[in-house]
């Protein structure tokens, strides 16, 4: 009985260890460069934010008709973005995020 119990237990242990090894190896691969990737992604997102909000921020944008449709996609990150670029309060009157 004990042997039957311990076999699945061992299998579970083994698969848990294997998963931990896999995660560890992955972390060993991506860890040292994680910040570079995230920073590049953040820069890209910032550019996207500026393009979408261009018209609202007062920059004439011939494609505003299309970019306005993308606005809901950027709301969620808007507060973090304006804080990051050094504007403490929301620069847009119609978005009271803070």
């Amino acid at each position: 009985m004990a042997a039957a119990d311990s076999a699945p237990q061992r299998r579970e242990d083994l698969s848990r260890r294997w998963a931990a090894f896999r995660d560890g190896l992955h972390e060993f691969y991506v860890g040292p460069y994680r910040n570079m990737f995230l920073r590049e992604k953040r820069d890209e997102d910032d550019l996207f934010m500026i393009v979408v909000l261009g018209e609202a921020l007062g920059v004439p944008d011939p494609a505003a008709f299309y970019s306005a449709e993308l606005m809901p996609a950027v709301w969620e990150d808007f507060h973090a973005w304006h804080r990051r670029i050094g504007i403490p309060d929301s620069p847009l009157d119609h978005i009271a995020c803070c």
Binding site: R22, G24, L25, H26, E27, F28, Y29, V30, G31, P32, Y33, R34, N35, M36, F37, L38, R39, R42
Partner: protein, 575 residues
């Protein structure tokens, strides 16, 4: 038998250092506290500040600090005999490097993950911070020039390493594409990548590439140095996922494999082989080749990263401190990271003193100062592996040469990238915007200028190697002085920091003065090195005075309250 005994004594010293001395440092000196909120938690942003598992963080820390220096340094320094090099590597790791790396990590964790440069501003004053920039610029410049020459020498002396060296770049490119573009799982990609790398070593071993006397109108030495600089420039400009990241990763895995092969060979050869690996090198070499400098102080600066290294403090306080999950992990990551580097040096010493067949062969290799180096490591280690694992000698030598080249190359391309940032920063300081490509060009021109300053064979690159040791150790004394000031302020025992500080400072200063005299020898004067050395000497005097003043101030001021670190205002630093 001799090699095994030495290996066991060395390993025992490292184990004892970790179990006893680092425990003492953790409990009594640094007083690590699990309840202290580390910067990784306090400022967790998922980018730079990320709490990380201590074993993974150790892997990152160790592979970042391990370069070619712990191989090059000890392999040259055994010219004075094996005992001085062995003692400095083991005792230096236990009492100097371990406490220094661990201390730099602790100091940075206690200061919101700020780097040593920023800490010198807080504890020693603004001038200390400026000094740091000068030292770091020189250090990086020396790294790229010296490592280009180290790789060039290996490619010429071990032509079988040419295919695996350049083939490793293709393997890295393919690993990058497989992981990021094809999204293949990492474990099989790693296995295939490492197997491909070893297959290239086997291929390279049967197809050695020897360049003709004049190749494209250049000597092989000039050609390889130019190629390496062009490669480094391209690698430092490419997106990191394409080449640098998979290359560092495969190299990290190879580092662990290489260490196991080396120590395993000594063990197996002693236990099972008919020819036991005996130590052929003298304990103290009384028959030094002409032109060999005096052992004291040059032994200490030649071994450089094999024992204490300022570069480790930069890594500790630059990235590792921002990822420490619990303060108590600093002991494992910092101290044991230094032990990892010590292991690499110990392996090198075993290879160059026990892997060579006879005393006559050994004396032939060490016929002049600086002649031993990595070539001796490759020859000696190759013989050890042949004896222990049964690999053919030339194949073993190719394995080790590739390992050394990969170490040097990854450090060189990272160094070029960092130096490019420094050039851009200097441009910002004088209000000139320097973009990526001109900055890289400046780095290449200055690096090549230094390497070729003594002739087209690249003699300039290695002649500055002793200066690398001095510069590196002066940076270590800067870090130790910050740790000492912190300990005095907290009214804790500062001796574990002050004793290594004084010794390292005196030895590197002495070496710098010794070298200064040698650069003015009539008929063999070297004014470029003279100028660089003067800068280093001025900088070291500066560190000395600033550090003493800061320590006196700290001793006079009232003790720092225990909870002050936790109340420091959080300051983020661009990494």
């Amino acid at each position: 038998m001799g090699s095994l005994v030495l290996m066991i004594i060395g390993l025992a010293m490292f184990v004892a250092g970790y179990l006893v001395y680092s425990k003492y440092l953790a409990k009594r000196v640094y007083k690590l506290d699990d309840k202290f909120k580390t910067p990784a938690h306090e400022m967790n942003d998922g980018v730079d500040y990320v709490p990380t598992n201590k074993y993974i963080l150790w892997g990152h820390h160790f592979t970042s600090v391990a370069g070619a220096a712990p191989i090059v340094g000890p392999a040259i320094a055994v010219i004075w005999g094996w005992l001085p090099a062995f003692l400095w590597v083991t005792l230096g790791t236990v009492f100097f490097a371990g406490m220094h790396d661990f201390g730099a990590l602790w100091a940075s964790v206690r200061n919101k993950g700020r780097s040593i440069g920023a800490l010198s501003g807080r504890y020693i004053g603004k001038r200390g911070a400026n000094l740091f920039l000068i030292v770091i610029f020189l250090l990086l410049l020396m790294v790229i020039a010296a490592f280009a020459v180290v790789i060039k020498n290996l490619l010429i002396s071990t032509p079988t390493a040419v295919i695996p060296t350049w083939g490793a770049i293709i393997v890295a490119l393919l690993v990058g594409i497989a992981v990021y573009r094809m999204r293949w799982p990492l474990i099989p990609v790693t296995v295939v990548g490492v197997v491909a790398l070893y297959a290239l070593i086997v291929l390279g071993n049967s197809v050695p590439v020897v360049l003709p006397e004049s190749f494209l109108g250049m000597s092989p030495a000039t050609f390889w140095i130019l190629t390496l600089f062009i490669y480094g420039a391209i690698a430092s400009l490419l997106p990191v996922w394409v080449l640098l990241q998979p290359r560092d990763y495969i190299n990290g895995v190879q580092l662990f494999v290489g260490l196991i092969l080396l120590f395993g060979s000594v063990l197996i050869a002693t236990l099972f082989s008919a020819v036991k690996p005996e130590i052929v090198a003298p304990m103290f070499n009384t028959n030094l080749p002409e032109g060999t400098p005096s052992m004291v102080p040059l032994l200490f600066v030649t071994i450089a990263c094999g024992a204490i290294s300022g570069f480790h403090g930069m890594v500790s306080s630059g990235t590792s401190s921002k990822q420490i999950d619990k303060e108590t992990d600093a002991r494992f990551v910092g101290y044991f990271g230094a032990v990892g580097e010590g292991l690499l040096s110990l392996g090198t010493i075993l290879a160059v003193i026990g892997g060579i067949k006879s005393v006559a062969d050994w004396e032939e290799i060490y016929s002049s100062f600086g002649a031993g180096g990595v070539d001796a490591f490759v020859k000696g280690g190759g013989y050890l592996m042949e004896n222990g694992l049964g690999l053919p000698a030339s194949l073993s030598a190719t394995v080790l040469a590739t390992m050394a080249v990969l170490f040097a190359a990854t450090t060189m391309d990272t160094g070029m990238r960092l130096l490019r940032f420094v050039v851009q920063e200097i441009g910002d300081a004088v209000k000139v915007k320097i973009t990526k490509i001109p900055a890289t060009l400046i780095v290449v021109v200055v690096g090549l200028g230094l390497t070729f300053s003594q002739g087209l064979g690249g003699e300039g690159g290695l002649r500055i190697w002793p200066l690398f040791g001095t510069t590196n150790q002066i940076m270590a004394s800067l870090t130790l002085s910050i740790i000492a000031v912190m300990l005095i302020r907290k009214r804790r025992n500062p001796l574990p920091a002050i004793i290594p500080l004084v010794l390292v400072f005196v030895l590197s200063f002495w070496a710098a003065i010794d070298q200064l005299v040698s650069f003015t020898q009539p008929g063999n004067a070297d004014w470029l090195l003279f100028a660089l050395d003067v800068i280093i000497i001025v900088a070291s005097v500066w560190v000395g005075i600033e550090a003493v003043l800061a320590m006196r101030r700290a001793a006079k001021e009232p003790p720092e309250p225990e909870h002050e670190d936790a109340e420091l205002s959080a300051v983020r630093e661009d990494v």
